[in-house]
Symmetry: C2
Subunit: 357 residues, 2 copies
């Protein structure tokens, strides 16, 4: 654990504008700990960083911000981990650009667990969301921590699945760790806080800014042993995460879909480039050398099973199901609801239902 005097120096140095991760690490390797960097003279600093950055370090004026961050970090559920910390996640030390500081809210221990990134589109299909959540649940059940980006769509479904298993989930934010974005994920963020962790490299209070999200993606992949892309269009940010994962030597996995679905194109592009096509969570676990744990959910009633068999995988309406099953409308509706709650069936627009697994 970094002591509080040292931590203040780490935070103070990290707040110097324009000082990127690489220069931060150059300064550390020249001067040692941040306290020494902050004591260095202009001519000493200028041997390592450009003059403007040296000026930024010497003329720093962030005392109150540092104070706030220290107060934040003093709460039991909060931590600021530095590169020098034992708790700093080892797997991030392997990536080309590990952040100097990590703000962590929640259970920092999950940062050291074996983890898998599960990412994808904000505009996923019902089936894509279902895949994200059910795959993540199986991964979590097998002991993996699910890393994602707290976006709506696949990210949120992945976090939820992670919370449903015995593992946990980590949301890596592109904002300050004290800012939940998008706001509609406030409740999900609370759940993640209670069992997993929210993580950010950005200073407290950093608002959403488009440029920060792609940069954040290297931590999603970096914290994980592999990266699964569930559904993604060709211009999806998930493809950035997948590329970074590959560059970091992580396995990349992608779920295929219809060639006519624009939201499967990104996954197909990844598979063409060498990502592993996966059809089940088991495929991923096997590739990672892990076995799947048995699902803990209760067995499906046999009436549901029968109706599922009769549904096939094409979309169908209730009338068709009544005709095929010989059951009454009330019973079919009740079974469909149950199947939907169990995640076996998705309801589509226009009163249609589709078997999804």
């Amino acid at each position: 654990m970094t002591d509080s005097g040292d931590l203040a120096a780490w935070i103070e140095l990290s707040l110097v504008s324009g000082l990127g991760g690489q220069r931060f690490r150059s300064l550390l390797s020249t001067f040692g700990l941040p306290t020494n960097v902050l004591k260095a003279t202009r001519s000493q600093l200028c041997r390592v960083v450009p003059e403007a950055i040296a000026a930024g370090i010497l003329e720093r004026n962030s005392a109150s911000e540092v104070q706030k961050a220290l107060q934040w970090a003093a709460r039991p559920e909060h931590k600021v981990l530095t590169l020098a910390d034992n708790e700093y996640p080892k797997q991030l030390l392997e990536i080309p650009d590990p952040p100097a500081l990590l703000y962590v809210a929640g259970n920092a221990k999950v940062l050291s667990c074996p983890a898998l990134a599960v990412v994808g589109s904000r505009n996923a299909t019902p089936q894509g969301l279902n895949n994200a959540q059910s795959f993540a649940r199986v991964f979590s059940q097998a002991g993996l921590v699910i890393v994602s980006g707290l976006a709506i769509g696949v990210d949120s479904a992945a976090h939820r699945g992670g919370l449903e298993g015995r593992g946990s989930t980590i949301a890596v934010l592109g904002t300050g760790v004290d800012i939940v974005y998008p706001r509609r994920n406030e409740l999900l963020a609370q759940e993640i806080l209670s069992r997993g962790a929210l993580v950010s490299e950005f200073p407290l209070g950093t608002p959403p800014s488009a440029g920060n999200f792609p940069r954040r993606n290297r931590l999603i992949s970096g914290l994980a042993r592999g990266c699964l892309v569930v559904e993604a269009a060709l211009d999806s940010g998930s493809l950035i995460t997948a590329r970074l994962a590959a560059e970091q030597g992580r396995e990349v996995f992608a779920i295929p879909g219809s060639i006519h679905s624009p939201i499967s194109r990104g996954c197909h592009a990844l598979i063409k480039q060498g990502a592993k096509l996966v059809e089940s969570a088991q495929d991923v676990l096997e590739e990672l050398g892990m076995a799947a744990a048995p699902e803990t959910r209760s067995a499906e009633p046999s009436a549901g099973h029968d109706l599922l068999d009769k549904m096939g995988f094409d979309p169908c309406d209730i009338d068709g199901l009544i005709a095929r099953s010989g059951l009454t409308a009330e019973i079919v509706s009740a079974i469909l609801l149950q199947l939907e709650l169990e995640g076996n069936v998705a309801s589509l627009p226009g009163g249609l239902y589709q078997r999804v697994r």
Copy 2:
């Protein structure tokens, strides 16, 4: 061209029961042409083949069958090609087990054209059938001959697509070339005869027999530069064709689909084993070093375009489309019909429509 005396000997030898392709070729390499084999003594034959086979050759009793085959071959639209023929397809000479004889009905010239195998399930989805036909049409338009097996489902759709372009199509049969199986493809077989070719290595009159179809598959892949699997379950015969294609050094291509569709599992298994995932005919043509020719079909009416945009890729019903488009029921129905005829939309059970490209 094999002269008719020689041809009679080729046919006579090929009708010897139990004489497989490998022994046939061993006899040829020892004795030269089949006429010499038929003149050889028991002791000469027994140096090359087991005694039972030698006996079969010496005690052959197929004169009337040979006569019938020669009569068949004498018709202008028929040919029996032997390994010694100039017209025997060169690409079959590259495979481990080329048939000694090929019975060809139709235009034998197409056997020497660059070709692509397009195969898949007999139980394909409407979308799978549409993919097979439209991919095959683009391949044909680019000058490729489509090779398939005349089965119902994907095979039939592939042949049809092949006939729609400027290329052509070859059906490789597991029966005698004079037997159309399944019978319901009689009309399709007639169309193939008029522009392409029916091919079989089996003697005339050979009825359908389960054991002959897997064996036939090596010719489907062998005649082609690559093999595209459109939709296939894990136990599909198409996977045999794909495996043979790979063993013959042909490119294997597969179209992905939903991980929840059993009929995509075979394609996914192939991709996991190294087949190229393809999303478009263009993907295949590029891999083969060919460019796609422009489609010759007429431009779609813009009303159709607009409705397609409004459909998205989810199944929908007419009422939903009326609401989304603001058009009358009559106009929506007319456009849907047009779109379906153009292959842009498939009709699903229950009065639903789905955009398929």
